[in-house]
Symmetry: D2
Subunit: 422 residues, 4 copies
């Protein structure tokens, strides 16, 4: 089956957020060959609205790797600097609503298992890129996306289909840049989906609950070095600032407004035993099941950072490197998904939202935008037993669910829309 | 000997800083009876320049105790509110310089030993006041002061003698208030002295080195309480501010400019297990063997407090509750002291400054002021073996050194001044 | 109405936990006069199972005040040392189950308002005890308890009635001591109740949800003092230990197992600016909506305290000073309460459990014990508009609800039990 | 002059501690060509006694660079793995004491200036190695060492000369490994020297005071990762351990036993915003002007680390990565150096020890070992005006002092020893 081949091809070449040069060029070419109009590069995203773009040398290295692997140079040129979003647009033969499906392009910085138990290794489609791996299932999503594209290339549907291929979902960094470009502003219905997530093979879940609002922040402190033996008081100790912030941030995680989470995921500073540390860096995330609570946490973090810097006479900067929000799936769309799923043999169990998500997703931003403009959205889960949890070196899906997922999205696309219903 | 009787009487009734109502009235009456002009109450000190004045109820309790013990009500009235400084002034029969001696009035909040080994207990002059004790030797200083007064009451000396009886030396709180009143502005020569300090009986040390500059600070934080279970985020946690300040202040004690010391001596806040703590209080001291380094530490403390308050949205206040500085004894005066000491049988060993002080003294402020206005000063040590260290419940001196000390100060007072020499 | 008079009398004389000497003696005498058998003193509670008993001098002061106010000396003698629990037992004329009602004896350390708006002040039943106040409604509960006693003194009911008057509910300190004495071991049905709690006048709530498991801990650290200027390194700084524990405890409040709360409500240590602090004390509470999560938090606190002490070579102690747990009201009993309430005119709105408690209650321990032994329990809320929130200086209830509450408990007591049902 | 050429050649190729492969092979070859017996590789040092050996890949990269630059492969082979110490031994024609001179082989990880003001750049002997530079003057020392070797190659001296070329002085890492091999066990007199150090061109200082005892420590913490949103309590947070240690270590820097210094130079941990940090690393140094005080600080650090790990259930390791001690120059040797310096025109000012060192030196270990076995040692300073302070990207010496330094060491070597004198 082509969808399985596609999945394995994407699996072999896992590119991390904003460096999906080869992956995106492959998607562009396929969509074009099927008759889609394709937006990409700066036509598909607003560069300034990206969060957490990797350093220049990382972008360049990935660019040259993609070139070497045979990506189309003209396409690459348009993506230079991390412009890897792709949107495929196709008009149906009849008029109808604009329906968007969203798929993610990026992989994770995880070294893939070489265990003989690990099917991608045994069947020889293990990652060719050291320290990178499709360990969340985005390779499967991409394959489903191309699978649907192929099916509906006949234009036997009503309305417009938009296939959104988003970069940098990991770290919730990429969605904003596509929204700011207006990609979903004309969308009436948006359906995002994820494979796995604790839902077993054969089950489909029409919606989801519990995604947390989140903000990811990168903080730097800049002080002054000094010889720790000869003149310690001459230094401005950036680690004192960072550790002071660390402890005070740790105390924020209790809130009567529901679940609140805070983590200092990275703290690092200093250069040598005998130098008062002059630089420090922190990576922080806040989360909450209420958008307002998350915002409150972010404000408290800002104040703690500013005060810690002032305390030790440090310069500082804070950059938002990722952001997602909470959202609610529209009941009507959840029902519609399940209604279509009922016709597909592979789905033996239909659920509204039996599983609560524990993490965050920037699909939230896409869905909220569509809803704010009067449209409808949902986030459904395609069940698949997993060899290991998401983000694990042994992660693997059941490939037999891929055709069912394609079928589902195809059925929805071909639906005879009673627009009034929405 | 009267000087011993005086010492024991003062020892029996030890009053702490700014509450020396009975002690001061006894001093005033004795000086007056000897023909001295006496300044006291608001004539001897600037109330606003006092540091660390006790709370009203403590002042009032001590006032009433002094009243009950039979202190002169008219004198007491003048001292109400903690105006306990006394200055005795006597003109000699001939003209000459103004020579000041300084003695301290205050005792310590220490419960005196009831051991049978402890002579004040055995000889029945132990403290009559619960939890208070002359454990530093100020009782001896006071007796020496009155002893000298009695000797020179004949006016057979050249110039003016000023006997300065300062309140609240403990905590370095009282000297500033007498300086601001101008008490030493006309002084040409000032001699302060201390008994004990590690110098053995029979030895006299004409000067001293090593007193540290110091500042004592009281800090309060004010936040907002909240129910810790129901709405923790509604509180503004004053203990978070105080402990953040605590840790950062602890990191200040290293300086290439010499000895630097910092201590948070008291930290307290909060009321109950289930309330987010809304108040906190800290008592902090800085010390350094350079006045500038001490000042730098104080500035860093201010910045840390302000930043800690800002971090947790607290109000705060900082009050200086004590202050002393470094100083240098004038060589000429050191020599003069030793020159006179040579004539006194009781002093068998004469030293310039063999011992290094480890603490702080607000005599430093008096001596510096005299020196700044062109005068001379020294701080000499009257050796005495001690039964236990200063500030200890078993502290006791050798009373036989008291008459020698009186003799010394008398000889200096009667000196035929070659003013030009100074 | 007598119930209102009783409430006002109790309101006038608010005694805090384990010092309810006058209150308890009043309750004992009233119950006796109505024909109840009464257990009190060490017959009603296990002294060793009390949490957070006040210091000796506080117990003694309250004892003498109660004596002075005219409490029965023989009864007082039995309560000496804080044995203030009371249990009234009455056999009905017919056989039936043992039904317990629980009321709390203790007040709060809050100074009552003297505003003319404050009815207890205007109507002259304001607290006669400085700094103490019935600000939670326990005075009302006591009045209801005596009101019921009076009604059922005719013994026209089936089974046994136990009226449990518990000391020291504030701080969740008293229930355990009555449980350990076996007071509820023969109880088939237990009904606890609380006035107010956000439920309006006229409403009755048959059960409640959401009380949190909690543990209150008192921690002391003992180090060694040293002169902060002369030999700072000789000290063992107890405040360093306590603040280290403080910051690390603050980081515990995030748990995937539901609501988790942690608070350091009190931290205090040190004596003077120039002494390395040698002692420190902390009061800490943990809470969680799962008993297991609360237990996990307590264990983490123990480990943090032990490690902080080891870090600074301190001795330490940890004492549990309060404890409560989670519980579930039995559906059958909730229904029964509402069934009877329906017959009372004053109750215009009946609810199962519309309000979620935000705090903790040691009624939880009583109810759990009854349930563990095969009985049933509930905790109902008697609605009353409040002048100000619980634990506030302006707190006041609507006295008109008191007779309705008495009626309700009377009706339940007189019920014709179908034992089998339970 | 050859000594200047040598200095420039060494300057061009600055290798950091334990990677001085090219430098050492050059030294070995030169010494051999002059007739010295040469110990090197594992004959000159005990591998297990090295501190802070770089990671394998750093050693290998430097090794291959040295190979590429033309170092003798046989010599390189002996040095593989960081065995870069060299000792040249020469017997004089007459019998006499064993005299050792010590020189350092290593450079610093500093990028050298490309300013046109910077003479090494202008005269084209700037570093060829990116990010490495002889910024402390060890290139000059090496040149002096070879210069002396050349002069005394005629053997016209009494006794034995040992030229000790020590690796890894920076970080005080290399001396111990030569001591443990016994290199100085037969030495009667050891003279170490340093150029610059605040002493102006033309001055020579026969001894030095004030080098601090120091210990450098590397600490790692190992906890367990967890998803920060989904199950924060499942993690064991290594950064909590490290920051707790950080703050408590910062509080150690006050000691009545003299100068005490402590610095956490590096703290780093964690991997990503959404993961509870499972690893952390710290680099710490202690210093004191008393060996015992330094040892006390080290013990306190160990206890703080152990307690911080226990607090958060972490595994940890502590490794000593550098060590030096205090020492006293022998008066006799100081005088002897100055006696010889008097004969050298270039030295216009002779001092005993006018400058106080502010740092630490592992020459201290060599000198102490010689003294412990009955020998004598000193550390003299060869004055040189500097273009910028030591360890600065603009650091440069006055090359004209090199021949004077060679002359001095030559004169001392050729001295007619009156052994009895020592």
């Amino acid at each position: 089956m082509k969808v399985v081949e596609w999945r394995r091809e994407f699996h072999r070449y896992p590119e991390i957020g904003f460096t999906e040069f080869f992956t995106a060029s492959k998607v562009i070419e396929t969509l074009r060959s099927l008759g889609f109009s394709v937006l990409y590069g700066q036509d598909a995203m607003d560069g300034a609205a990206r969060f957490g773009v990797p350093a220049k040398e990382i972008l360049e290295k990935a660019y040259h790797q993609a070139m070497k692997r045979g990506a189309n140079p003209a396409l690459l040129e348009s993506m230079k600097g991390g412009y890897t979003a792709v949107v495929g647009i196709l008009q149906g033969k009849e008029s109808g609503p604009t329906l968007a499906y969203r798929f993610e392009l990026d992989a994770l910085p995880i070294e893939e298992s070489q265990s003989t138990d690990h099917l991608p290794h045994r069947f020889e489609f293990r990652s060719r890129l050291k320290g990178q791996m499709h360990a969340c299932g985005h390779d499967a999503h991409l394959a489903i996306g191309l699978g649907v594209a192929e099916k509906i290339a006949d234009r036997n549907f009503a309305g417009t289909i938009k296939l959104i291929f988003q970069p940098a979902e990991e770290g919730v960094r990429g969605a904003r840049s596509m929204i700011e470009k207006g990609i979903v502003d004309d969308v009436d219905l948006i359906i995002c989906q994820h494979i796995g997530m604790g839902v077993p093979t054969g089950q489909i879940q029409g919606g989801v609950e519990g995604f947390l609002a989140t903000t990811k922040l990168e903080v730097t402190f800049l002080g002054e070095p000094a010889h720790a033996g000869a003149a310690p008081e001459k230094g401005k100790n950036a680690l004192l600032g960072a550790t002071t912030a660390f402890f005070n941030i740790q105390s924020l995680g209790q809130h009567s407004g529901g679940k609140a989470r805070i983590n200092v995921g990275v703290l690092e500073g200093g250069t040598a035993a005998n130098i008062i540390p002059a630089t420090a860096r922190m990576v922080i995330e806040t989360r909450a099941d209420q958008q307002e609570v998350n915002q409150e946490l972010v404000e408290r973090v800002y104040q703690i950072i500013a005060s810690s810097a002032m305390m030790h006479r440090l310069e500082y900067s804070i950059e938002i490197i990722g952001e997602a929000t909470t959202f609610q799936c529209d009941e009507e769309l959840v029902s519609l998904v399940l209604e279509e799923a009922e016709h597909i043999e592979g789905f033996t169990s239909l659920q509204k939202s039996s599983v609560t998500a524990e993490g965050s997703e920037d699909a939230s931003l896409l869905i909220r935008r569509v809803q704010e403009r009067g449209g409808y959205g949902t986030y459904c889960i395609i069940g698949s037993d997993l060899a290991a949890p998401h983000h694990h070196a042994h992660f693997d899906i059941h490939e037999e669910v891929l055709p069912h997922a394609v079928q589902l999205l195809e059925r929805i696309a071909r639906r005879d829309w009673e627009i009034a219903h929405f």
